[in-house]
């Protein structure tokens, strides 16, 4: 396969899967929209976890910032969706930029706990600003204008899903491009041995800040999509628990590969949803066991496992 073929192939995956999902689950588009938005968020998380090698429990800070910013923008300024997305990106990016200045010298457990601290502080502040944010009751009353002035957001979530899926698709293509670029290659080098990169004259602090801000911007974008399609923003968007949940999705899918983020979000949400539907009381036992199994039997995550399986099939076909 040539490079162009491969790129085209990769580009086709998301649209094909999106159509397939709509065909299989025609009456659950609000749920599918949730999956697309979560996948976008997990994708942005992969930039921090996979590309920068930093485990974080604070990614929701940027997601929540994007969600609240987009919600407030639509309530008080303009209910136009696309500019709302830009507001979300800016809010997420700004929160990331400011916290990166504190965070980007730390790593490991220290980094993890600092992200927790930042997220908790933001959470408390938003909780206390009830007049603006609605506090724990949530921020509600969001009514979006039609997309492009033409397409109405329906309560079935049809538009919501396609809107989220297209954004996800574009961001995915963009990140694939970036991953292969000098910036992306440097990111991997910084992750492997930052000190070595400085000895070559690379500015690792600035690079990490840039990467974190990029990731924060995308997380903010996901937050804005969520605010616009759900029409309510709750404090849960800012919680450490939610950060942990998306981290689990990413690790389950496989880190550092982008595909893993998509697969992790899709599979986790699907299994969670259906396990909880089959047994609303005991599904956690099932999910827990599944995570343990994945660690034991798929050391490179779902995507790694998938890849290995495909390779084995190919080898089998050849011989």
């Amino acid at each position: 396969m040539t490079n162009t073929q491969r790129t085209l192939g990769a580009a086709a995956v998301i649209p094909i899967v999106a159509v397939a999902l709509v065909v299989i689950f025609p009456n659950q588009q609000a749920f599918l929209a949730q999956i697309a938005i979560t996948a976008l968020l997990v994708l942005s998380l992969d930039l921090v976890v996979g590309f920068a090698g930093l485990a974080t429990l604070g990614h929701a800070a940027m997601y929540g910032a994007g969600a609240y910013a987009a919600a407030l923008y639509s309530l008080h300024v303009w209910a136009e969706p696309l500019t709302g997305l830009v507001v979300g990106i800016l809010a997420g990016g700004l929160v990331a930029l400011v916290s990166a200045l504190m965070l980007m010298r730390a790593h490991g457990l220290t980094f993890l706990m600092m992200t927790v601290a930042i997220t908790q502080i933001i959470y408390e502040i938003v909780n206390k600003s009830r007049a603006v944010t609605g506090g724990d009751d949530g921020l509600y009353g969001i009514m979006m204008q039609p997309l492009f002035g033409r397409f109405e957001f329906d309560f079935y979530g049809r538009l919501a899903f396609w809107y989220a899926a297209v954004v996800l698709w574009l961001v995915f293509l963009l990140l694939r491009h970036i991953a292969a670029s000098p910036f992306g290659l440097t990111a991997r080098a910084v992750r492997d041995d930052g000190g070595r990169v400085s000895s070559l004259g690379g500015g690792i602090f600035a690079h990490r800040v840039a990467l974190y801000t990029l990731s924060g911007g995308i997380a903010g974008l996901a937050g804005a999509l969520s605010a616009q399609t759900v029409q309510v923003v709750g404090l849960n968007t800012l919680s450490v628990t939610y950060s942990a949940e998306i981290l689990v999705m990413l690790v389950m899918g496989g880190t550092g590969r982008l595909w893993g983020a998509l697969l992790g979000a899709l599979v986790f949400m699907m299994i969670h949803h259906y396990a909880a539907e089959v047994d609303p009381v005991r599904w956690m036992l099932f999910i827990g066991a599944m995570l343990v199994m994945i660690v034991l039997f798929l050391p490179k995550g779902l995507f790694g496992g998938l890849e290995a399986a495909v390779n084995r099939l190919r080898e089998g076909a050849r011989t």
Binding site: S181, P182, R188, D193, S198, L200, G201
Partner: protein, 248 residues
């Protein structure tokens, strides 16, 4: 003559332990200086001080006549002061070619490019190719560095430094772990460097030191014990007793 690198009265202590004592040294364009001395004499520490990994407790480092003591390792690297590490430090998730590419990206200030393409990208590919050829690593270009034998990793470590086109190059035991039979690849590569480059290298292999160095600095207990041409050093009884032993 203008000195590329000048070190004045450099000192370093860890707690109560003084590891570098009032070291003076200069490197001029074209210099090939060997730094030798017993284990723990402070050779690596001196390179760390010059390259900016460690902060000195006293003294100055000058590059091209201007003080760089306050500059970071990164800034010094930008001014052409490049070093290798005694224990290889490579990017363990990368292939040989990518490792070299990373270095070339830093060299050419392309860190914030979000795509390839353009003339500088060709430049990078060309320099990567050249270094691979010089070090006879073409076969290994797409191998993961972490899976190479140690000796080959040493070659890549050197390649990373070479691609930076340094003006002053400091090598910490570049040939350690490389078989005698193959150390000439490394030495050839260094020999083929532009003549105006200044090279400081640490080595315990006296064959290489005497073959390659034009000047030798002997460091003992953190201080400069003596300096001289290879012949002078080889003839020095004290150095023989303390360091060289019966060999050579």
């Amino acid at each position: 003559m203008n000195n590329l690198l000048e070190v004045r009265n450099l000192s370093k202590s860890f707690g109560g332990l003084q590891v570098t004592r009032n070291v003076d040294l200069t490197i001029a364009p074209g210099d090939r200086v060997a730094l030798i001395g017993p284990n723990g004499a402070g050779k690596t520490t001196l390179v760390n001080l010059i390259s900016g990994v460690l902060d000195p407790t006293g003294g100055e480092v000058m590059l091209d006549g201007s003080k760089v003591t306050a500059l970071s390792q990164r800034q010094r690297a930008h001014r052409g002061l490049i070093r290798t590490f005694q224990i290889t430090r490579l990017f363990h998730s990368m292939t040989v070619a990518d490792t070299l590419r990373v270095a070339a990206i830093q060299k050419n200030g392309m860190t914030y490019r979000f795509g390839w393409g353009g003339r500088s990208a060709d430049l990078i590919e060309k320099s990567v190719e050249r270094v691979l050829t010089d070090l006879r690593l073409q076969d290994r270009r797409d191998n993961d560095v972490s899976l190479l034998a140690y000796g080959e990793q040493r070659l890549v470590e050197l390649g990373v430094a070479l691609i930076m086109e340094p003006r002053v190059l400091m090598l910490d035991e570049p040939a350690a772990g490389v078989p005698q039979s193959e150390s000439h690849i490394i030495m050839d590569a260094i020999e083929n460097l532009p003549a105006e480059l200044g090279v400081l290298f640490i080595e315990h292999d006296m064959d290489l030191v005497f073959r390659f160095a034009r000047r030798i600095i002997v460091l003992v207990s953190g201080g400069v014990f003596c300096t001289g041409t290879p012949d002078e050093i080889a003839a020095n009884e004290d150095v023989r007793a303390m360091y060289l032993g019966e060999a050579s």
